[in-house]
Symmetry: C3
């Protein structure tokens, strides 16, 4: 009776921090799986890539096949333990938004819940610019708002395809612990 | 050549009133079916619940099965008569939005039209608070706006899955009759 | 290895102009196919219509069948050459938004990219009213905004169903050439 839950959120929304904190707060154990990392592992096993950066060189059909195989490998993991998949509903590229949970992925994962970690476009913008060590992830508040909308629309389509609950949790500035608590409550239900 | 039409809308939007008024105005006969009520009937027939409140205790897989069976029973009804299904595109719960028209439901119902009854978040908020006898359905105008967006996104996904027309009818304060007329015109087409 | 790309956009967004300009700028050849025209050709071949206006008289089931057959004929064309399909994600009618890329269409086309040409509601409104020779396409800025949202939601659902990239390109006043360049870059990738 173990289950798959999916947590999505834009870069800069504080997803890793909130998931980490939630795992500390939670009484239950979850295997946290980063979908992108799992895809790289699959591609490495198949001898297709050596480094993370090689993923971008895969042609679209191969990329989609790896995406599907990674989903199947996550489903296998979920037979023994509840799983929390850390991923994106949409990934912004210069050539458009790539759906992070296309039909063949989300239909395989059969998630109980799709959980969106969200913040205001202004908060995401200031978080992504205040960190000197990283290149700026987002160009403008307006673009972040478009990105947020597209990601939520894609997550909603995934919910309709699978029947998964769609939860939206705000990770407002200075309130990561509250967001983590809300995540634990949502997972527990 | 009878057909299934679906009317959705948030609690507080005035859906029941508008549907009732539309049925009085319309020259044609429709069997108005409340999807939630039909699910309870199905669950009672199977001996799973005795009262409405027991529905919340069903596990997710059973709930989805009842949801599907109710859709099939509505389709049977529609063989003899045009049907108007009164339901929700999304149902808000503490653990997330539950899709009210997930793929297996909407694909079974094959609706001609999905009709959203809508009002501004402010109107929905004030309607839900002015009624002393009921517990407040919505916490804030901001939350209602999120709910409205998610419901429309899920309805749009249902439209893409089935090819159903997606109509949006505003039920503004004091204009329920206009909304009912628009509903009749939409159904007639 | 040829591919299907889809360009959608509201009437008044300048879609034809941008596509024409992009085809002039591009080093690669694309067969530009207007989806509506292709549907009319199919319906004419089957002896169902004589003129464009007759399309509105087709019953829903016939319309959907023509829509599907047109998609199949576009897929055949794409075996020899890259294809650019000029269509709508949603078509506004008095009885609701008709999904222009319902599941059976988009799943057949298997697009690499769904590209939305967009402009602000104000720009679309003023473009649709300044042209004296045509009847006004849009009633108000508010209605255009609703239309834009529904179209984007339906396009996002199509992207989730197919894995297609979802690109949004702004065609701001006086910047059609920039939009055409962006379209070429997107197609090239």
């Amino acid at each position: 009776m173990s289950e798959v839950n999916i947590v999505v959120g834009l870069s800069g929304v504080g997803k890793s921090t909130v998931i980490e904190e939630a795992m500390l707060l939670s009484d239950e154990d979850y295997e946290v799986i980063n979908y992108g990392d799992r895809m790289i592992e699959v591609a490495k096993e198949e001898g297709l890539v050596e480094h993370r950066d090689d993923m971008k060189k895969l042609d679209t059909d191969t990329y989609k096949r790896i995406q599907r195989t990674a989903a199947e490998s996550i489903v296998e993991d979920s037979e023994d333990q509840d799983v929390l998949v850390d991923t994106h509903a949409a990934i912004k590229s210069p050539f458009g938004y790539i759906p992070g949970l296309p039909k063949w992925t989300v239909a395989n994962l059969k998630p109980s819940k799709i959980i969106i970690l969200d913040a205001s476009a202004e908060e995401i913008y200031s978080r992504s610019t205040s960190d000197e060590g990283r290149s700026r992830e987002h160009d403008s508040v307006e673009e972040i708002d478009e990105y947020r909308k597209v990601a939520r629309e894609m997550a909603a389509a995934g919910s309709v395809l699978t029947g998964a609950y769609l939860q939206i949790i705000k990770n407002s500035d200075g309130r990561a612990e509250r967001a983590a608590e809300k995540l634990v409550e949502t997972l527990r239900s």
